[in-house]
């Protein structure tokens, strides 16, 4: 049992730190949930990619550095400690890319990953539908066979980043006669600018178009954009939920940096007694999350998978994130009401955590049934 990093890993960390010190923009970029901010964040991804820092854990062939999971964690610590911008291609890098590594073809990886790494192609996700949120398997959007591919029809909604993104990935029903709802689904990628796609941005609580509705009318998708076998979409989508994705959705580096920021804010406000415990809990929670992740990473290296543990992880970080930002706004007092501050935007973003990627109620069901072995019941 050992928490120290090897000299080679520390050298990697130092290299990342030096690069970030030289490149991180001195002032924060405009919000990535705006047209101007999206473009600025895209340019930042290109700058990262030019020196192969945008997806460090990918093989070098696709623009990565073959970094181990541990090195990825160290990179993330450095990245957020340096105050670097949010990642506009998070959907692609942390959700689609792992799926392509596990289930895609060599041709798909060679075609999709390099432009993802540079920010040239930014990905939105297209999971939810108006009638399929937590009950994702009941989705109705269809893909029917056409010459050389598929035709998509239906509606997706709450698609993160879709207001400005280039492409999207998600599940579609290819066999409406399958006996169970989660059967007969197919995982595919499509172009948000293809004929038949209408994107209608949705304003988030703060008015920024952080997501969108997608109306799909006979949108052609070539066979080369189907991931895995048709009908296997549910299994493919869920398999990445239990592996590194469970960790890569939110790296500890983010929370260590947020807790540090909160601590500095608390000190700047005169270290008020009233919020002392909540600030301490933010620092402690970030450390707990870091160590929990180190333990999970160590298990991966032993060839284990995370499985339902990723649900434990998800409930923790999403609630932690809100508590931290609520504390910040309370510390700011009347200033905390201003909507155009970084704290306010981070707070609004944190509110989505317990809802997306499987609501925390769904996660608690998973923990109770799969980790604790409690009986299934009426939902």
């Amino acid at each position: 049992m050992d928490l120290t990093h090897s000299p080679a890993d520390e050298a990697f960390r130092a290299e990342a730190r030096a690069w970030l010190r030289a490149h991180v923009p001195p002032d924060p970029l405009p919000s990535l949930e705006t047209g101007e901010g999206f473009a600025a964040h895209r340019a930042w991804e290109a700058e990262l990619a030019a020196d192969r820092w945008s997806a460090v854990n990918w093989p070098a062939a696709y623009g990565g550095r073959d970094a181990t999971l541990v090195r990825w964690l160290l990179f993330e610590e450095e990245y957020y400690a340096a105050g670097a911008p949010g990642r506009v291609n998070q959907n692609g890098v942390s959700l689609l890319a792992p799926t392509l590594f596990d289930h895609g073809t060599e041709e798909q990886r060679a075609r999709v990953l390099p432009p993802m790494a540079t920010g040239e192609v930014v990905w939105a996700q297209a999971w939810s539908e108006p009638e399929a949120g937590s009950d994702l398997a009941s989705l109705k959007s269809r893909a029917r066979r056409a010459a050389g591919g598929w035709l998509l029809s239906g509606q997706k909604t709450w698609s993160s980043r879709a207001a400005f993104a280039d492409r999207a990935f998600g599940l579609f029903r290819t066999d409406p006669d399958a006996p169970k709802p989660h059967q007969g689904l197919t995982y595919l990628m499509f172009d948000l600018r293809a004929p038949g796609v209408t994107v209608r941005p949705i304003a988030r609580l703060d008015g920024r178009p952080a997501f969108a509705e997608l109306f799909l009318d006979e949108v052609f998708v070539p066979d080369e954009d189907v991931i895995g076998e048709p009908g296997q979409g549910w299994r493919i989508a869920m398999s990445t939920a239990g592996n590194e994705r469970g960790l890569m959705l939110r790296s500890p580096g983010r929370f260590l940096a947020s807790a540090g920021r909160l601590h500095r804010l608390w000190q700047a406000q005169g270290s008020p007694e009233s919020t002392k415990d909540r600030v301490a809990d933010a620092l402690i929670g970030a450390r707990a999350y870091q160590l929990f992740t180190f333990a999970a990473a160590s298990r991966f290296l032993d060839g284990e998978s995370l499985g339902p543990e990723s649900s434990v992880n998800k409930v923790f970080w999403s609630e932690y994130d809100i508590a931290l930002h609520e504390t910040a706004l309370d510390l700011l007092g009347t200033e905390g009401e201003l909507a155009d501050t970084e704290w306010a935007e981070r707070y609004v973003f944190s509110l989505s955590g317990p809802i997306y990627a499987g609501t925390n109620e769904i996660q608690r069901d998973i923990i109770a049934e799969r980790l604790l072995g409690l009986p299934k019941g009426r939902r």
Binding site: L256, I284, R287, F292, E309, R364, L372, L374
Partner: protein, 326 residues
């Protein structure tokens, strides 16, 4: 970086768990609470034979330690089985004696603590020591220094009936002036955090078993979402306390230990509240064994560092070292 217990450490925990599971600890605890210590002392000897106390004693004094990771592994199991007695105090006493400027008291007292022949207790800057009537080495940290107390006063009941609080008689042999206490406090806090984590796990396990068995409205109450979600939250709390505990055992930094202590004790206490609620009136009875863990979770919360003391320690360390501590 490999942040997992190695196979020997896991096997050590498993063997302690098996030994304690076979020892019928609930009835040992009930004897102990009545002041009948024979079975508790016998169990103490078996715990010592397994090497637990030796882990807190340096090799120079016939021990194997100090080995904080193994101590944490052991104390999780001691908590899981609600083992009674001044376990944490014996560890703290061993460290305190080893840190005295004069090696005389350590040479005289430590081998018997490591072997389990002697049981130590400690009044740490406060009026009470745990189980002063059982302990053979009674230490009091007072203004002049560390005293070997000649006896104890009347037993006061604790909220946890197995924890018997005793004032120590004033006076006695002065073992050392102004002893260094930081390391003893660190080990005591670490062991308490581990014990609390074990207590919390036992509460969760027993409650999961109960809600699977207990039926109301024709179904196991464990199938109700309100019940499941409370238990899921208890699991999450314990799950995040564990890495803090072992991280602290590796670094032995006071802020890491304080973070582990407050988190493990809060998680165990939350698990206790959930356990009581989901057992209903059954859990509210002293007769039902769950009470042995419920009351301990409450007592450990304030033993060896109240929550706010631990949080203050974390803030102090961050203020001193900036925000790249972790």
């Amino acid at each position: 970086m490999r942040f997992l217990l190695d196979p020997e450490q896991r096997a050590f925990g498993d063997s302690l768990n098996a030994m304690l599971a076979a020892a019928d600890t609930p009835s040992v605890v009930r004897d102990w609470s009545r002041g009948e210590h024979a079975r508790g002392r016998a169990l103490w000897s078996r715990i010592a034979e397994a090497g637990v106390f030796a882990l807190a004693v340096a090799e120079a004094y016939e021990g194997l330690g100090p080995r904080p990771v193994e101590l944490a592994v052991a104390f999780v199991e001691l908590g899981r089985h609600a083992v009674p007695g001044p376990l944490v105090e014996t560890v703290a006493a061993a460290i305190l004696l080893a840190d005295l400027a004069d090696p005389g008291p350590a040479e005289r007292l430590l081998p018997a603590l490591a072997s389990g022949e002697a049981v130590a207790t400690l009044a740490w800057k406060g009026p009470y020591a745990l189980d002063g009537d059982v302990a053979t080495t009674r230490l009091a940290l007072t203004r002049p220094g560390l005293l070997l107390s000649p006896g104890h006063g009347p037993v006061r009941p604790s909220l946890d009936p197995a924890r018997r609080l005793t004032p120590l008689e004033p006076g006695g042999e002065l073992l050392g002036r102004d002893p260094a206490t930081a390391r003893a406090l660190a080990y005591a806090r670490l062991a308490t955090a581990a014990q609390a984590l074990g207590v919390g796990q036992a509460l969760l396990d027993r409650t999961v078993a109960h809600v699977g068995r207990r039926t109301q409205f024709g179904v196991p109450i464990g199938s109700f979402q309100a019940v499941k979600h409370r238990l899921a939250d208890a699991r999450i709390g314990l799950e995040f306390a564990r890495p803090l505990l072992f991280g602290a055992a590796l670094t032995m930094a006071p802020a890491d230990i304080a973070a582990a202590k407050v988190t493990a004790c809060e998680a165990a206490y939350a698990a206790a509240r959930t356990a009581l609620q989901l057992h209903g009136a059954i859990g509210y009875t002293a007769e039902y064994d769950l009470s042995l863990w419920l009351t301990k979770a409450r007592a450990l919360r304030t033993a060896w560092g109240e929550p706010d003391v631990c949080r203050a320690e974390v803030l102090r360390a961050h203020a001193l070292s900036g925000d790249r501590r972790w």
